[in-house]
Subunit: 640 residues, 2 copies
């Protein structure tokens, strides 16, 4: 039936009068009509109406066909499978105790003997990945099936598309659309998951200590053995020593977004009560964002959108009038890591929207009902200001979480304060070579060249005279570039550099001169930012390397290669693809040399980028639906 009207009709009907009347008439003998003069406009209108109706019918038929197809598929997903007598190892049911703390060592997991494929994986090296964010997922997506026995240890059972958390915080998209279950991601690799939090590491015995919830609801600890460990646990927010951060929201997880959403809705509900005094109403509807980076800016923009598009329509108008949004930024401009043009554009947009930008200000303290910040006035005196509020978002800087801190403390050569230092191959510095990797926010690639001084001299000083002449230096620079690609841009002009530090101009560098050179160059290198893009690229790099290690393992071992990582792949190189941010019905893109910014069209571009970066087709569909639903019916105002 659906097809009928799609069959191309003979052309004549195009020239016949359009409104041919009921079909009954067609059986009567047709009396030829005088050709009526018909205006071109009318004819065109009729044609237009005709094609429009065709189009509408096509659309409907398309949807019906799609719906039918989906429901037929749907019907087949109702299975009647039964399982009985699943093979399971006795050790998986009663793990033995071991390790320094005599905790249960989960050597064999529940599914390990389940079928042939699992049994095969059992003989492969155990790859344990701690974390479930961008880095971990990227590794998982790049690993090939069959090379490793993969176990993911993660406290949350899902991975989150973090860049859209500000959208989820006001309900532009649903939180469910930002998450993908880890179990679905690891299913491809026939990996397994342990829902728990890593707390400690026994590197000598290759055991990861994990805190899980036992059957009685109490915390219990276990050891997860590994051959290779990838730490990708992310970071926590840095406090910058500001007191009162317990009154702040953060926006790093799904539950953060949910709490923020509830608070925003609560504030509006309480503000509508006549018993709320005008001052309290102002305070309830004052939203303070500390930090003018992308997260802070996007959250401020989303709150603004929410007020304009939804609060305006369903709450007393007075509530909309009393809303104030404040962004407190320590630098001179918001989005200071972006180009100047973008900063200015965003500031201009916010000013038009009456979002209060407080720049060059430091948050002094946060209290349950107000925020105190300090401004340096032109004459140098410090002024203290106060914003009454019931909502403070803290989105500035990162710090180590307890596990990262513990790993860092275990290794004497780890001195970085915000993350675990890794070498250019992403191996944790100081850990047994090729056993422990760290990626993403919890890791930072070493930028210190001077710590490699002796090694570098040893390699480069061909004539072993304890000094480095220009040829030797040239070789040394190539080695540095190989080892620490991030130093590359600072090692362009080899001759100039050599001459600059060769203070006695004897055409050779002493160890002292070399030491100074390496130290000063090291200081110039900027660490990679703690962004999803970096974590994702690191994950891909590591996943691919692990594949190569697995496939070339035997050959390399036969040749007794010492540094396997170096043998199979070069060091990690970050390729910056640009940054973007949503600033409320407008978006900005910093693509290196190019800065793009604009209104609705840019916003759609911004959505497209995030849309294409989704982990799964499912979240992609959900996200698209969310945007459509928001477009048609606005945001959901329910406080769940």
């Amino acid at each position: 039936m659906v097809q009928t009207w799609l069959i191309p009709r003979p052309a004549p009907c195009l020239t016949r009068p359009f409104a041919a009347g009921p079909s009954l008439e067609q059986t009567k003998p047709v009396i030829p009509l005088e050709p009526r003069p018909r205006s071109r406009f009318l004819r065109r209108s009729l044609l237009f109406a005709k094609y429009t109706s065709y189009l509408a019918l096509s659309a409907t038929a398309g949807l019906v066909a799609l719906g039918a197809a989906i429901f037929i598929h749907d019907a087949f997903t109702y299975t009647d499978k039964h399982v009985e007598r699943v093979p399971v190892s006795p050790i998986a049911l009663h793990p033995e105790r071991g390790g320094p703390k005599k905790l249960p060592v989960v050597d064999v997991l529940l599914a390990d003997e389940e079928d042939e494929e699992f049994r095969k994986l059992n003989e492969k090296p155990k790859l344990v990945i701690v974390g479930g964010g961008w880095g971990a997922v990227s590794v998982l997506q790049n690993l090939s099936l069959g090379d490793y026995h993969v176990t993911v240890v993660t406290a949350e059972t899902f991975t989150t598309f973090t860049p859209l958390l500000p959208s989820a915080a006001v309900g532009t998209v649903q939180v469910r659309s930002l998450v993908e279950p880890m179990r679905k991601i690891i299913a491809r690799l026939r990996g397994q998951m342990i829902c728990g939090k890593a707390t400690d590491l026994v590197m000598s015995q290759r055991l990861l200590e994990v805190e899980t919830v036992g059957p009685d609801g109490n915390v219990q600890k276990i050891y997860v053995p590994y051959d290779k460990l990838i730490i990708a646990v992310g970071s926590v927010s840095s406090t910058h020593g500001v007191p009162g951060l317990e009154h702040c929201f953060q926006l790093k997880t799904i539950s953060d977004a949910q709490t923020i959403r509830r608070r925003i809705m609560d504030n509006f509900e309480t503000a509508t009560l006549p018993t709320t005094t005008p001052d309290e109403r102002k305070r309830l509807l004052s939203f303070v964002v500390c930090g003018g980076g992308p997260t802070g800016v996007e959250t401020a923009a989303e709150i603004y959108d929410f007020c304009q598009e939804d609060i305006m329509n369903y709450f007393p108008k007075l509530c909309r009038e009393e809303v104030s949004i404040h962004v407190i930024q320590s630098r001179e401009h918001i989005l200071n890591t972006y180009s100047d043009a973008i900063s200015k554009y965003a500031e201009e947009k916010f000013r038009r929207d009456k979002v209060d930008l407080v720049t060059s200000a430091r948050v002094h303290s946060v209290h349950h009902d107000h925020v105190v910040y300090t401004l340096r006035s032109p004459d140098g005196t410090v002024i203290e200001q106060e914003i009454p509020t019931n909502f403070v978002l803290w989105s500035t800087g990162i710090a180590m979480n307890p596990f990262t801190k513990r790993v860092s403390d275990l290794l004497p050569n780890q001195v970085h304060k915000k993350a675990i230092e890794v070498d250019a191959h992403l191996r944790v510095k100081g850990a047994p070579l090729g056993e422990v990797y760290a990626i993403g926010d919890c890791a930072t690639i070493e930028t210190s060249l001077v710590s490699h001084l002796l090694e570098l001299v040893d390699e480069a000083d061909k004539d072993k005279n304890g000094e480095i002449d220009f040829d030797e230096f040239d070789f040394m620079v190539s080695r540095i570039k190989q080892r620490i690609p991030m130093a590359e841009s600072h090692l362009q002009k080899v001759r100039t550099l050599f001459d600059l530090y060769d203070s006695d101009a004897d055409n050779s560098l002493t160890l002292n001169e070399l030491c100074k050179l390496l130290e000063e160059i090291g200081n110039k290198i900027t660490a990679l930012p703690a962004t999803a893009q970096v974590a994702s690229q690191q994950g891909r790099y590591l996943g691919r390397k692990l594949n190569k290690l697995a496939s070339q393992h035997e050959v390399l071992e036969a040749n007794s290669v010492k540094d396997l990582d170096e043998a199979v792949s070069g060091p990690f190189r970050y390729k910056h693809l640009g940054s973007l941010a949503y600033i409320g019905n407008a978006a900005v893109f910093d693509l290196g040399p190019l800065s793009v910014m604009g209104g609705l069209i840019a916003m759609y571009a911004w959505r497209s980028v995030y849309w294409s970066e989704q982990v799964s087709a499912r979240t992609r569909a959900l996200l698209m639906i969310d945007w459509i639903i928001r477009g048609v019916w606005g945001r959901d105002l329910s406080r769940l």
Copy 2:
């Protein structure tokens, strides 16, 4: 561009060879080909392929057109409205205190002076609706704009589509798809909302005491004045005096569904840990449902579905093997309010699915790790049995919530234990006439006839001889039917009834005889069940009556009619449209004389019914999307 291929092509292309080759050839002189014999099958296949591709193209174009339309619409929802100097009454900002407890009386609300329309409504009678469930929403949907100043007092800011809560509890549908913000529902009536919990009632001063959350986060109490009050606050679960119900889940609200979902996921996650002993694993994966009514049965079915369709694929198979689902029912059969055929069908289905049905059993006590129930063995001795479990759902019977209890206690003639008694016009018995109504689960329509004895005799006893002859009795019966329609079916045979109770056969009933008659008939009337269907019909009845009251108010008052409700409409009559239940890839329908049951097709019918009952097009779309998403990608396994 989209239109191009939709223009009907001339017929010839149907007879030309289908694969005509690249268009380039068409510019060359065409050499006539010998007509090749072509099999009918091939021709048909080509035609089929052609129409299929037309169809696919239509579908795609339809979707593209739809998408484009939505995005264009979407673009226009980004508004740039600004509000300033919204008119607001000083009393709305600083309400005066009053009433017996000297609480703030919110006489004027924030939006009341906002614009002309609001100011007009301000002069209308104040209609206050307490609650946000089926009853309240149904009233709101049937009221017409402009007759009342509507205020909704509700603790939750949304209304919930309760029949699908079992689906939401395992993630077949998302909780967000079951809720519609109250503010969007009342927007049509330009009503206002107070987010709070009713706690008390001062009927003499027409004040409703409401507990709200103040700006400091503490509870504060206010009085909401009303001219007409509708109580539609629903019910809580009945405990039946069973100890340990604090260990049970309920399934009455969205947050219940969320908690249940989290617990189910937690149980599975802990069950996958090797440190969980086999006994503990069995306990974690044992799901107990107390109550074999629709909610209990549907929850059991949904848990079964979830295990079969999702757990099976993403958790160790051992977990699936160890799952056990138990339904404990006090009656002999599950779904005992449905027809026998349906009960049997459902039981058969559950038996095939290895769901453990424990019938004729009483739950004795619930503990944190097990449930104890008692069975009466054939020889009459009581046997105590135990099921170890970490999940108990309690879904049996209803009881009054604290506010309903308070209202009931305020009125001396309220004696019902489970709900507020109302007359056939849904007016709370004992409250000032026409001021307080109650509908839904929190209300029960009086079934006692004997309490009307004197009134009825007064009306019917025309000759005032203190006895009722047959003619008088006939009139009395018609009055009873008018007043208490639920008695109708028991008053069919007037003569037989009269003769039966006219024990001395003097062709007249004494007061004593009449009293006995009315009492016995009253006992035969069954109260309406506490279902969404009843609440919804009551809401519609009340909404329409309120409309009539508003429009006929002046005329009625001019004629000094005493009982306005009776003057504008008859008593409430419930029309049972049938019951339905989902039992796991199958559904059952009890349509009075007809019982329908079946597999997938019945399930789709079940979905259609619920789909059509949605409050808004938004939730309808969301629900459809959920079902499609579940069909394509399965349920979400994330524990949010």
